[in-house]
Protein backbone atom coordinates (compact mmCIF):
# COMPACT_ATOMS: atom_id res chain seq x y z
CA UNK A 1 0.00 0.00 0.00
CA UNK A 2 1.38 3.40 -1.00
CA UNK A 3 0.83 6.23 1.41
CA UNK A 4 1.65 9.91 1.70
CA UNK A 5 1.78 12.27 4.65
CA UNK A 6 1.04 15.96 4.20
CA UNK A 7 3.37 18.28 6.10
CA UNK A 8 2.51 21.87 7.00
CA UNK A 9 4.64 24.38 8.86
CA UNK A 10 3.61 23.56 12.41
CA UNK A 11 2.72 19.90 11.85
CA UNK A 12 4.18 17.88 14.69
CA UNK A 13 2.67 14.41 14.37
CA UNK A 14 3.90 13.85 10.82
CA UNK A 15 6.85 11.76 11.95
CA UNK A 16 4.69 9.59 14.19
CA UNK A 17 2.34 9.06 11.27
CA UNK A 18 5.22 8.16 8.94
CA UNK A 19 6.61 5.63 11.43
CA UNK A 20 3.18 4.07 11.94
CA UNK A 21 2.49 3.80 8.21
CA UNK A 22 5.96 2.36 7.53
CA UNK A 23 5.47 -0.12 10.34
CA UNK A 24 2.06 -1.33 9.13
CA UNK A 25 2.52 -1.17 5.34
CA UNK A 26 6.20 -2.11 5.11
CA UNK A 27 6.68 0.73 2.64
CA UNK A 28 8.16 4.18 3.09
CA UNK A 29 5.42 6.87 3.04
CA UNK A 30 5.94 9.85 0.75
CA UNK A 31 6.22 13.23 2.35
CA UNK A 32 3.99 15.85 0.74
CA UNK A 33 4.95 19.46 1.47
CA UNK A 34 2.12 21.99 1.91
CA UNK A 35 3.11 23.96 -1.19
CA UNK A 36 2.64 20.99 -3.50
CA UNK A 37 -0.18 21.47 -5.96
CA UNK A 38 -0.60 17.79 -6.73
CA UNK A 39 -0.75 14.60 -4.74
CA UNK A 40 1.46 11.95 -6.39
CA UNK A 41 -0.44 9.46 -8.55
CA UNK A 42 -0.87 5.94 -7.29
CA UNK A 43 -1.30 6.67 -3.60
CA UNK A 44 -3.81 4.58 -1.67
CA UNK A 45 -3.88 6.85 1.38
CA UNK A 46 -3.10 10.46 2.17
CA UNK A 47 -2.74 11.23 5.86
CA UNK A 48 -3.17 14.75 7.23
CA UNK A 49 -1.36 14.66 10.57
CA UNK A 50 -1.78 16.47 13.86
CA UNK A 51 -0.02 19.56 15.06
CA UNK A 52 -0.57 23.29 14.85
CA UNK A 53 -0.53 24.01 11.12
CA UNK A 54 0.26 27.68 10.44
CA UNK A 55 0.18 28.27 14.18
CA UNK A 56 -3.57 27.63 14.30
CA UNK A 57 -4.02 31.23 13.16
CA UNK A 58 -7.65 32.41 12.81
CA UNK A 59 -9.07 28.97 13.71
CA UNK A 60 -7.45 25.55 14.04
CA UNK A 61 -7.03 24.23 10.52
CA UNK A 62 -8.46 27.33 8.80
CA UNK A 63 -5.27 28.44 7.10
CA UNK A 64 -4.15 24.94 6.17
CA UNK A 65 -7.54 24.29 4.58
CA UNK A 66 -6.75 27.08 2.08
CA UNK A 67 -3.26 25.79 1.21
CA UNK A 68 -2.45 24.51 -2.29
CA UNK A 69 -1.92 20.97 -1.09
CA UNK A 70 -5.43 20.73 0.36
CA UNK A 71 -6.96 21.46 -3.03
CA UNK A 72 -4.88 18.56 -4.30
CA UNK A 73 -6.01 16.36 -1.39
CA UNK A 74 -9.63 17.21 -2.22
CA UNK A 75 -9.06 16.16 -5.83
CA UNK A 76 -7.41 12.95 -4.65
CA UNK A 77 -10.36 12.22 -2.37
CA UNK A 78 -12.69 12.69 -5.32
CA UNK A 79 -10.64 10.11 -7.22
CA UNK A 80 -11.30 7.70 -4.35
CA UNK A 81 -7.96 7.95 -2.56
CA UNK A 82 -8.49 7.29 1.15
CA UNK A 83 -7.82 10.33 3.34
CA UNK A 84 -7.13 10.18 7.08
CA UNK A 85 -7.12 13.36 9.15
CA UNK A 86 -6.00 13.05 12.75
CA UNK A 87 -6.42 15.81 15.33
CA UNK A 88 -5.32 19.00 13.54
CA UNK A 89 -5.82 16.92 10.39
CA UNK A 90 -9.48 16.42 11.34
CA UNK A 91 -9.82 20.17 11.95
CA UNK A 92 -8.30 20.83 8.53
CA UNK A 93 -10.66 18.37 6.79
CA UNK A 94 -13.73 20.06 8.32
CA UNK A 95 -12.42 23.54 7.47
CA UNK A 96 -11.74 22.36 3.91
CA UNK A 97 -15.27 21.04 3.59
CA UNK A 98 -14.22 17.40 3.15
CA UNK A 99 -16.15 16.53 6.30
CA UNK A 100 -19.12 18.32 7.89
CA UNK A 101 -19.17 20.12 11.24
CA UNK A 102 -16.51 22.01 13.16
CA UNK A 103 -14.11 21.43 16.05
CA UNK A 104 -14.40 23.98 18.81
CA UNK A 105 -12.49 24.73 21.97
CA UNK A 106 -12.83 21.87 24.49
CA UNK A 107 -15.86 22.44 26.71
CA UNK A 108 -13.64 22.26 29.82
CA UNK A 109 -11.26 24.83 28.24
CA UNK A 110 -8.19 22.81 29.18
CA UNK A 111 -5.96 21.03 26.71
CA UNK A 112 -6.75 17.32 27.08
CA UNK A 113 -3.80 14.92 26.81
CA UNK A 114 -4.47 11.37 27.94
CA UNK A 115 -5.36 7.87 26.82
CA UNK A 116 -9.10 7.63 26.27
CA UNK A 117 -11.39 4.68 25.67
CA UNK A 118 -13.25 5.06 22.39
CA UNK A 119 -16.00 2.88 21.02
CA UNK A 120 -16.10 1.76 17.41
CA UNK A 121 -19.52 3.08 16.39
CA UNK A 122 -19.56 1.79 12.82
CA UNK A 123 -17.49 -0.71 10.88
CA UNK A 124 -18.82 0.41 7.50
CA UNK A 125 -15.61 2.13 6.35
CA UNK A 126 -12.28 0.47 5.48
CA UNK A 127 -10.74 2.33 8.43
CA UNK A 128 -12.92 0.47 10.92
CA UNK A 129 -13.42 -2.79 9.01
CA UNK A 130 -10.99 -4.71 11.24
CA UNK A 131 -12.79 -3.75 14.43
CA UNK A 132 -16.00 -5.15 15.86
CA UNK A 133 -18.92 -2.77 16.16
CA UNK A 134 -19.24 -1.57 19.74
CA UNK A 135 -15.69 -2.66 20.54
CA UNK A 136 -13.78 -0.38 22.89
CA UNK A 137 -10.18 0.52 22.18
CA UNK A 138 -7.85 2.88 24.02
CA UNK A 139 -6.22 5.59 21.91
CA UNK A 140 -4.42 8.72 23.10
CA UNK A 141 -5.86 12.21 22.59
CA UNK A 142 -3.93 15.49 22.80
CA UNK A 143 -5.91 18.53 21.76
CA UNK A 144 -7.35 21.88 22.74
CA UNK A 145 -10.00 22.13 20.04
CA UNK A 146 -11.61 18.71 19.85
CA UNK A 147 -15.17 19.60 20.71
CA UNK A 148 -17.03 18.36 17.63
CA UNK A 149 -20.14 20.37 16.79
CA UNK A 150 -22.64 20.38 13.95
CA UNK A 151 -26.33 21.23 13.70
CA UNK A 152 -28.82 18.60 14.86
CA UNK A 153 -29.82 17.75 11.32
CA UNK A 154 -26.20 17.00 10.34
CA UNK A 155 -25.65 14.94 13.50
CA UNK A 156 -28.81 12.93 12.81
CA UNK A 157 -27.70 12.35 9.25
CA UNK A 158 -24.21 11.21 10.31
CA UNK A 159 -25.71 8.78 12.80
CA UNK A 160 -28.41 7.60 10.42
CA UNK A 161 -25.90 6.87 7.67
CA UNK A 162 -23.52 5.05 10.00
CA UNK A 163 -20.88 7.71 9.51
CA UNK A 164 -19.91 8.12 13.16
CA UNK A 165 -16.81 5.94 13.23
CA UNK A 166 -15.71 6.47 16.84
CA UNK A 167 -17.31 7.78 20.03
CA UNK A 168 -15.69 8.64 23.33
CA UNK A 169 -16.74 6.32 26.14
CA UNK A 170 -17.46 9.04 28.64
CA UNK A 171 -16.67 12.72 28.75
CA UNK A 172 -13.63 13.96 26.86
CA UNK A 173 -14.07 17.43 25.36
CA UNK A 174 -17.79 18.18 25.18
CA UNK A 175 -18.21 16.85 21.64
CA UNK A 176 -21.80 16.56 20.43
CA UNK A 177 -23.05 13.01 20.97
CA UNK A 178 -19.53 12.04 22.09
CA UNK A 179 -18.35 11.99 18.50
CA UNK A 180 -14.61 11.30 18.22
CA UNK A 181 -14.43 10.53 14.50
CA UNK A 182 -16.59 10.64 11.38
CA UNK A 183 -16.31 9.44 7.80
CA UNK A 184 -17.39 10.92 4.48
CA UNK A 185 -20.45 9.74 2.60
CA UNK A 186 -18.42 7.15 0.67
CA UNK A 187 -16.48 6.10 3.79
CA UNK A 188 -13.12 6.95 2.19
CA UNK A 189 -12.35 10.03 4.29
CA UNK A 190 -11.96 9.67 8.06
CA UNK A 191 -11.41 12.52 10.49
CA UNK A 192 -10.78 11.77 14.16
CA UNK A 193 -9.38 13.53 17.21
CA UNK A 194 -7.70 10.50 18.87
CA UNK A 195 -4.24 9.58 17.54
CA UNK A 196 -4.26 6.03 16.13
CA UNK A 197 -0.64 6.48 14.98
CA UNK A 198 0.37 6.61 18.64
CA UNK A 199 -1.14 3.22 19.38
CA UNK A 200 0.41 0.90 16.80
CA UNK A 201 3.26 -1.09 18.33
CA UNK A 202 4.20 -2.65 21.68
CA UNK A 203 6.60 0.20 22.46
CA UNK A 204 3.61 2.57 22.45
CA UNK A 205 2.02 0.60 25.27
CA UNK A 206 -1.21 0.68 23.28
CA UNK A 207 -2.04 -1.00 20.02
CA UNK A 208 -5.68 0.03 19.59
CA UNK A 209 -4.92 2.10 16.50
CA UNK A 210 -3.07 -0.53 14.51
CA UNK A 211 -6.11 -2.18 12.98
CA UNK A 212 -7.28 1.16 11.60
CA UNK A 213 -4.25 1.17 9.29
CA UNK A 214 -4.45 -2.56 8.64
CA UNK A 215 -8.06 -2.14 7.48
CA UNK A 216 -6.74 -0.07 4.59
CA UNK A 217 -4.53 -2.94 3.43
CA UNK A 218 -7.75 -4.65 2.35
Amino acid sequence: MKTGVVIFPGSNCDRDMIVALRNVTGQEPLRIWHRETEVPEGLDLVAVPGGFSYGDYLRSGAMAAQSPVMRAVKDAAERGVAVLGVCNGFQILTEAGLLPGALMRNAGIRFVSRDVPVKVASTASPFTARYAEGEEVVIPVAHHDGNYQADAETLDRLEGEGRVAFRYSGECNGAARDIAGIVSENGRVLGMMPHPERAVEPAHGLEGGRRLFEGLLG
Binding site: A102, M104, R105, N106, I109
Partner: protein, 78 residues
Protein backbone atom coordinates in the same frame (compact mmCIF):
# COMPACT_ATOMS: atom_id res chain seq x y z
CA UNK B 1 -10.97 52.42 3.29
CA UNK B 2 -11.56 50.36 6.36
CA UNK B 3 -13.95 47.62 7.22
CA UNK B 4 -14.47 45.86 10.48
CA UNK B 5 -15.65 42.28 10.53
CA UNK B 6 -17.09 40.99 13.79
CA UNK B 7 -17.10 37.23 14.14
CA UNK B 8 -19.20 35.81 16.95
CA UNK B 9 -20.32 32.35 17.98
CA UNK B 10 -23.85 31.48 16.96
CA UNK B 11 -26.52 31.55 19.62
CA UNK B 12 -26.78 28.21 21.31
CA UNK B 13 -23.14 27.33 20.62
CA UNK B 14 -21.36 26.81 23.92
CA UNK B 15 -18.60 29.37 24.44
CA UNK B 16 -16.23 27.93 27.04
CA UNK B 17 -13.89 30.91 26.81
CA UNK B 18 -16.73 33.35 27.41
CA UNK B 19 -17.78 31.25 30.40
CA UNK B 20 -14.26 31.36 31.83
CA UNK B 21 -14.07 35.14 31.36
CA UNK B 22 -17.43 35.51 33.08
CA UNK B 23 -16.20 33.38 35.94
CA UNK B 24 -13.00 35.46 36.21
CA UNK B 25 -14.98 38.71 36.28
CA UNK B 26 -17.06 37.36 39.13
CA UNK B 27 -13.86 36.34 40.86
CA UNK B 28 -12.67 39.95 40.61
CA UNK B 29 -15.84 41.03 42.36
CA UNK B 30 -17.73 42.49 39.38
CA UNK B 31 -21.37 41.71 40.01
CA UNK B 32 -24.32 41.95 37.67
CA UNK B 33 -22.71 40.46 34.56
CA UNK B 34 -25.21 37.92 33.24
CA UNK B 35 -23.28 36.36 30.38
CA UNK B 36 -20.05 36.78 28.40
CA UNK B 37 -19.52 35.76 24.80
CA UNK B 38 -16.12 36.07 23.19
CA UNK B 39 -15.65 36.86 19.51
CA UNK B 40 -13.15 38.26 17.05
CA UNK B 41 -12.71 41.64 15.46
CA UNK B 42 -10.91 41.63 12.11
CA UNK B 43 -9.95 44.97 10.56
CA UNK B 44 -9.44 45.18 6.84
CA UNK B 45 -7.77 48.11 5.10
CA UNK B 46 -8.79 47.89 1.46
CA UNK B 47 -9.36 49.70 -1.83
CA UNK B 48 -12.74 51.16 -2.66
CA UNK B 49 -12.98 48.66 -5.48
CA UNK B 50 -13.58 45.90 -2.95
CA UNK B 51 -17.34 45.39 -3.09
CA UNK B 52 -19.75 44.43 -0.35
CA UNK B 53 -20.14 41.10 -2.13
CA UNK B 54 -16.37 40.58 -1.99
CA UNK B 55 -16.39 41.25 1.75
CA UNK B 56 -19.28 38.87 2.25
CA UNK B 57 -17.43 36.20 0.25
CA UNK B 58 -14.28 36.73 2.35
CA UNK B 59 -16.32 36.10 5.49
CA UNK B 60 -17.98 32.99 4.14
CA UNK B 61 -14.82 31.48 2.69
CA UNK B 62 -12.32 32.25 5.41
CA UNK B 63 -12.93 34.84 8.11
CA UNK B 64 -15.84 33.01 9.74
CA UNK B 65 -16.69 29.34 9.99
CA UNK B 66 -20.41 29.54 9.36
CA UNK B 67 -20.99 26.13 10.93
CA UNK B 68 -20.50 27.72 14.33
CA UNK B 69 -20.00 31.45 13.77
CA UNK B 70 -21.94 34.50 12.59
CA UNK B 71 -20.31 37.54 11.09
CA UNK B 72 -21.22 41.21 10.82
CA UNK B 73 -19.55 43.56 8.34
CA UNK B 74 -19.13 47.24 9.19
CA UNK B 75 -17.88 49.24 6.25
CA UNK B 76 -16.75 52.77 6.96
CA UNK B 77 -15.38 55.56 4.78
CA UNK B 78 -12.77 56.56 7.34
Amino acid sequence: MKTRVYVTLKNGVLDPQGKAIHHALEGLGFAGVNDVRQGKLIELDHDESVSDEDLEAMCRKLLANTVIENFRIERSAA
